[in-house]
Symmetry: C2
């Protein structure tokens, strides 16, 4: 039988032709890419493979940028908090910022574009009450109120592209020139980017796929005075701001943004902040602009007969693939980095492209590929977590990044990837376009809704933070589970109600964040819609501090439905008698121990009608409560692991009042899962662990059999029953 | 040498004369008391001792009360939360309440005195939109909005005194009649209480001290439908409410209270709630009334030649001994229960009485005095914790409660109390009226200020709650420490600034509570006053969530002074580099391990200028930061133990910038303390532990010597140096 090939992209590099050919053959690769810092030889470009070439739109052209420094990109920044000791106060507003990256904008009048704010009262100072000293980047406040705190919000030019800055500093690139980012909203830059792209396309005839890395605006990444990261927000629109943008915004939306609309008390509207209308307007405005300009570039690429692919990262701001303007860009493909199941789905579910590609881990870099380390371990972990998600909705291609020559030195790794790529193609060939069996439809409810599908609770892309892992586990578990997942916003519910096909709503997050909802929970329409929906049979799962906002006698605004609330001290005088867990419960039937991650303190049951499932340290961490025909489950936190995935699945079925359907296409062993594809009468039984596992497998009729799977095995079986 | 006697009160009981005399002699008692449920024989009353007799003012007279049921005491209660499923809703407002204790008031028009509140919007319903059905204690809401939640606030009569109810149910008193509490604000009750007191005084010639237990209104104690405690607030004014009181309040204060002013969303204005102006007005109103009426009773007692003593508990509401009307009552004495140092100081520091008395533990009850148990252990713990506080300010007398016959069966206990009573008299004789050495003055800052001196963070008297022990430790540590302590309110600071003699301000509590301060921290005057004060050299210690209120870029409003803030998710995008503790620090110099109790999550340092002293689990739990000439210390929580007492003392000296004075009158061993009395040139070196301890002792000049103390020993020494 001829070995299948395709759907795999390799990085390559100079002087590596023979080995590239060997690895292409073994891994079945049909595309070759360069990387940031590597170039492909001409003879590699002649191989029987598509050639991807990295393309930077708005950086890497210093010859242009240096002669148009007034078209540099801009940011609004906030100074440190400064306490006035007398009625005058000097604010060194650049303190803590990296002067190699950022330069105050003195071209535009600070009195028009900057703000000095009294942070004790929140009042904006009259522009007559402060002066800027340009020579030492200082604001002198002349009418300060002693012991008030002040901040200066100011405009800067960004004179170094953040990704290049990061690589430059990390890799000690010394006197290599700094890529200056220019703003394609400006006339010369806009013209230049198109002219240059046309020229480049002519000069690169061997390129099949232009890999935009990326378009115009980098996610917010600001370094400190020591040249280290100071602020990072993978969703941040900070670097898309400019005088030109502010003026255009006013033109388009009919009102002018204040610096504070961007600076946001120094929180800079991160995804954890409940977005203001001004900020929502602003990101809509940027998305629309980015889509329009990106479309022009994509059209040019298409005219040259090549494909246009976008990297989901770096300068991706404004492209939001789940936003309403993305389709209009007309991209052929999106490629992104796969850290696990949730990030795989974030890529695989992107609509309006012909194909998606996941860049898998590990990167072929010396931090993993060093003597004595076994890169197969990381590759295996990455693969089994991503595979769960692939089995729900596969990306169309997989690929790798880094130095192929490094990976080549690890024969076990080469052999393992040969197995992985084969397994990927097998999965793809069987299930692409086939609807997998879903037992339930789950809606994740937060401030962002569909716009941030598979992108909640993230700070920097796929990095671990103490404050997020207990929520990210929910997404990771769902990414490979036999349920449909949709992301809805509070405004969606307020305007349109709960979608009719949803079985369970999940609200997960810390109080006051965009993910929990904060003051949204005082919205009468929101709470009544969800109360009615649960009471009529809907399922609700609250994780962490769901529906939290202190108001009229409850902290959790759906406390009555949830059957629990959080003790803030106000109700300590009320005896808490309901502390005894039920002896057994459907939700915890497979649990051997509980892991709520950061957990949550001081949760208590409101009555004996609350089914307490876990109670320890004087507080409830897992419970369920009936509300009319519906059920509401509380979970203190849910980091990702196999036990918690099972616990969540059981909680979903219980909340939905569908326990009897839980065993359809089910594996009893928590390390195994069954993915069924009724329309093609196939199922995959997978072992998500690195050990042999024995499990009882249930089909859609409830028939069962015992199966033993090799470590990480995927086993395909046909089934004959109709449905 | 003649054995000293006096300053000790014993309980006695019937048929126990000989043993009472023996114990009086051994313990040096000079007073005998009855208890709730015990009576004294006539021959005991003839002993050479003062006789205390328990007196109930407003209960225990059912022959009167039953014929004046319209003068029963009243309460405002709130129903459960009820969700409307349609546009009508039935609320069974008595659900969950104990009908033997509480009876709806249908004498007064519910339409005038009750409120139905839409808890989804906070709106009060028009009285035309609901009707009361008296026969089944039901409110029918006729214009409900589906899926809104509703509560009914309603008036009840209290038909059973809570203390008697508790004893009755706990001890299975069967068909013993229920004491009906009557309201002395009512005409017949008011007349009756005076008439009866006069009569009683005549009938009890042997009584020397009338022990009021207590006056008119019980702290709020409401039982549930199962006859168990449902709500308990030792500070609660709930049972002082009545139609008569509401009318008198309107007369006096010029506005009418709403039921919601009392019911407070179901939180009932517990001490953890930041008091509203209406509630402050109300407690002032009650205090004034109680003081006036109590004074009349005390005057009657004095006219009979007897003393008037008040028990600090039970029906003590309105007497607040640190309030502005207490002095006018004219009491001779206050007696209260001593759970440790803080409760001892709560009694000992009461002004405007001739003497105070502490009732020590254990109570002579079978729960401690049973075969096989050693009551000396509890007595010893109680004594050494209280002794620390006695050495700062002694109560004038100590006493015991319960069944003396029970204690008599434990000879080791009898011997131990003989030692304790002797030690107490020795302390008293040496230091009463002598100012102890204080190194610093500390102000505890919260919403209640001086009114609740030594009474912060308490729910029910001296009971353990998970949410309070991490703060109560501060009071307990301070109660026996060589510092002066004052309690100030936010309004005190706003109106009068920080008292000039204060060295360190402590703000301790959970966010949003009266103890932390909540929205007070947006008060410009408050924050600027304290910022200025710290900057000019003051010390500030924040514990838990000090100054917490999300506003203008900070969660802790004194974040800039403290050098730390709490991460709520909004600033996750800002890198947190400051995670490295200092190698050693003055504050932790005696610490072998840390115990922050419940601790606090997600605290981070704002800059490298913050001295991190303890960092674990990705967060700061102990730090210090300079702010101008002052210092601000952060502690995540501080349960009481010897290490934490030392840590707090060091933190206080460090915050006050007086480290060099820390070793004055100091014991190096944390289980020992030195109490110095410069004006009489004496010092007490105490061993607070139950083991032998060796310590270096420093005098006021810095001279030191090593001392070894027996378990729990107190050693008095003279010193000769001047000052």
């Amino acid at each position: 039988m001829k070995k299948k090939i395709g759907r795999v992209t390799l990085p390559s590099e100079e002087n590596f032709l023979k080995e590239t050919k060997e690895l292409m053959e073994r891994w079945g690769a049909d595309a070759i890419r360069d990387s940031d810092g590597t170039k492909l030889d001409d003879d590699i470009k002649q191989l029987d493979a598509k050639i991807y070439t990295t393309y930077f739109v708005a950086r890497g052209h210093n010859e242009f940028a240096e002669s148009h420094m007034d078209e540099c990109q801009q940011l609004y920044l906030m100074s440190l908090f400064n306490t006035a000791l007398t009625d005058t106060l000097e604010v060194h507003f650049m303190k803590g910022y990296f002067e190699e990256q950022l330069r105050p904008d003195y071209i535009h009048d600070p009195k028009k574009y900057w703000e000095v704010i009294d942070r004790t009262t929140g009042e904006v100072l009259d522009t007559n009450d402060w002066e800027v000293s340009k020579k030492d980047n200082r604001v002198l406040i002349t009418k300060a109120i002693p012991w008030h705190e002040y901040t200066v919000s100011f405009l800067v030019y960004a004179i170094w592209d953040p990704t290049q800055m990061y690589n430059h500093i990390t890799n000690n690139w010394g006197d290599k020139p700094h890529d200056i980012p220019f703003d394609v909203r400006q006339p010369y830059s806009n013209e230049y980017m198109k002219t240059y792209l046309n020229q480049w396309l002519t000069e690169n005839p061997d390129t099949d796929v232009v890999r935009f890395t990326t378009f115009f605006y980098h996610f917010t990444l600001v370094f400190n005075n020591l040249g280290k990261e100071k602020f990072v927000d993978w969703f941040g629109y900070g670097a898309s701001v400019s005088v030109a943008a502010l003026d255009a915004f006013e033109q388009e939306k009919g009102y002018r943004l204040r610096p504070e609309d961007i600076v946001d008390q120094g929180y800079y509207n991160t995804a954890f902040r409940i977005p203001t209308q001004a900020y929502l307007d602003y990101i809509d405005f940027v998305q629309q602009f980015v889509a329009k300009e990106a479309k022009e570039l994509v059209d040019i690429v298409h005219e040259s007969g090549k494909e246009a692919m976008m990297f989901l990262g770096d300068n991706w701001i404004g492209t939001e693939p789940y936003g309403k303007y993305f389709e209009s860009i007309g991209l052929d493909a999106v490629v992104g980095s796969v850290g696990g199941g949730a990030t795989l789905r974030m890529i695989a579910d992107i609509p309006h492209v012909r194909y998606t590609e996941g860049r898998f881990l590990p990167y072929f870099f010396p931090d993993t590929f060093y003597e004595g380390n076994n890169p197969v371990i990381e590759a295996n972990e990455n693969w089994v977590t991503a595979r769960r998600a692939l089995l729900r909705n596969p990306v169309d291609r997989i690929g790798y990044g880094g130095y192929l020559s490094l990976a080549y030195q690890f024969p076990d790794f080469v052999a393992y990837i040969e197995k992985v790529t084969g397994e990927f193609r097998e999965i793809y060939d069987i299930i692409k376009g086939v609807t997998p069996y879903s037992g339930l439809k789950v809606a994740i409810l937060n401030s962002w809704g569909g716009l941030r599908t598979w992108q909640t609770h993230m700070v920097a892309h796929a990095l671990w933070y103490k404050q997020i892992y207990s929520y990210l586990g929910v997404l990771e578990s769902l990414s490979g589970a036999a349920v449909d997942v949709t992301f809805i916003s509070f405004d969606d519910v307020i305007n349109d109600g709960v979608p009719v096909d949803v079985d369970v709503i999940i609200n997960a997050g810390d109080a006051g964040t965009a993910f929990s909802g904060g003051e949204y929970w005082t919205n009468e329409k929101l709470v009544t819609t969800i109360r009615a929906w649960i009471h009529n049979g809907g399922g609700f799962i609250g994780i962490g501090e769901p529906t939290a906002y202190q108001h009229e006698g409850h902290y959790f605004q759906l406390a009555t439905a949830l059957g629990i609330d959080k003790e803030l001290g106000f109700s300590l005088s009320t005896d808490k008698y309901f502390v005894t867990p039920v002896e057994e419960h459907f939700i915890s039937a497979d649990s051997t121990q509980f892991n709520f991650g950061e957990g949550m303190k001081n949760i208590f049951a409101l009555s004996e009608e609350t089914e307490i499932i876990e109670y320890s340290n004087g507080e409830v961490h897992l419970s369920s409560h009936s509300f009319g025909k519906g059920r509401a489950v509380y979970i203190a936190g849910l980091p990702y692991n196999e036990e918690n995935t099972r616990l969540l699945m059981r909680a979903l079925y219980y909340a939905a009042n569908k326990e009897e359907e839980f065993h359809k296409w089910h594996a009893s062993n928590i390390y195994c899962e069954v993915h069924a594809y009724p329309s093609i009468r196939k199922m995959a039984i997978v072992n998500n662990s690195m050990k042999e596992q024995t499990t009882v497998v249930f089909d859609g009729e409830g028939n069962s059999k015992e199966v033993t799977l090799e470590p990480s095995e995927i086993r395909w079986e046909d089934f004959s029953n109709e449905s």
